[in-house]
Symmetry: C2
Subunit: 187 residues, 2 copies
């Protein structure tokens, strides 16, 4: 085999992309470095070389998806319906990345090697930024409750495949979810 000797940064990015896709669909320990290497068409060793360790690769995947809750300045009023539609409309949607990161976090939530990374990522990149959008006391707690609903819904739909949340009229569901979120975020 002839080495490719192309741009290293490019193949590194490809690895990251593959890793992101894999971690989206399997938990930390169920994603093999060899899987990622095969995706990219490269030897395992290279993955290890570019990222040092699997744990660090996972870390970079998470870092590379930093969300931008703050850029799109949403006022607290619109937040419930915004969050509801983000979680329910998995297809299309430009906020896809935000949902993806939530999914990656949830997938590996109980993976010993990844759990710490996952916890801090969730706190620093999800809870705290959103809480900053809110006025009033107990902001973090209210956001935490709201995201309990969101992650619960996501877990039910994605991991448990609960039919009633997948099949039928999404619009009614989205309305209900919005209502619940408004209640959760209220003081």
């Amino acid at each position: 085999m002839s080495p490719r000797a192309k741009c290293a940064a490019s193949t590194r990015d490809t690895m990251l992309a593959s890793a992101r896709r894999r971690f989206l669909e399997e938990s930390y320990e169920n994603v093999g470095l060899r899987d990622i290497a095969r995706d990219v068409g490269v030897d395992v060793a290279l993955v290890g070389r570019y990222f040092g360790s699997k744990e660090n690769l996972f870390h970079e995947v998470l870092r590379g998806m930093r969300c931008d809750w703050l850029d799109t300045d949403i006022d607290a009023e619109a937040l419930p319906s915004f969050l509801a539609s983000m979680v329910l409309r998995q297809e299309e949607s430009e906020d896809r990345e935000d949902l993806d990161r939530l999914l990656i976090i949830l997938r590996s939530a109980s993976s010993p090697k990844a759990s710490e990374l996952v916890r801090t990522a969730f706190r620093e990149d999800v809870i705290e930024p959103v809480a900053r959008l809110l006025k009033g006391a107990d902001a973090e707690r209210r956001v935490a409750v709201a995201f309990s609903i969101l992650t619960g819904t996501t877990v039910m739909r994605t991991f448990m495949g609960v039919e009633p949340l997948l099949a039928c009229c999404q619009q009614g569901l989205e309305q209900k979810l919005t209502r619940l979120l408004r209640e959760a975020l209220s003081t």
Copy 2:
């Protein structure tokens, strides 16, 4: 070493108990048969012999915790506060087993080998029984939404270690959760 040659059923039960405890705190692939064997003070091979396969052991753990939502005949009115207190009061509580099973299910929700078992267990032993307690249309969907909230809360507390849901006054949280569940279960 001298074989114990005691009652086989007893050691089998001990294995099951150990497995239950393990699966409660680690996901399917992070629980080793050797861990369980060590707990019981027995060789790995015996675990394999008594349960055939790890997958089947997991299955039996789940089966052995069949809940009894129906025995304690709860009317739909009291359901929200009942569920809220079940999820929040992890200590004490005689319904501890029910919560435990929910936790085991969630832990291994995205473990390829266990996901199917987990899905059907959740549907058949949680969603459907509770839905049977409800009147009105869309019972399963309403229960699914309610359990989205419950599992979300549990994931946040147990897996993600979200402080605001753990530390502060549980009573306020329980009230809010009850309110959310009532809203979720309403038509």
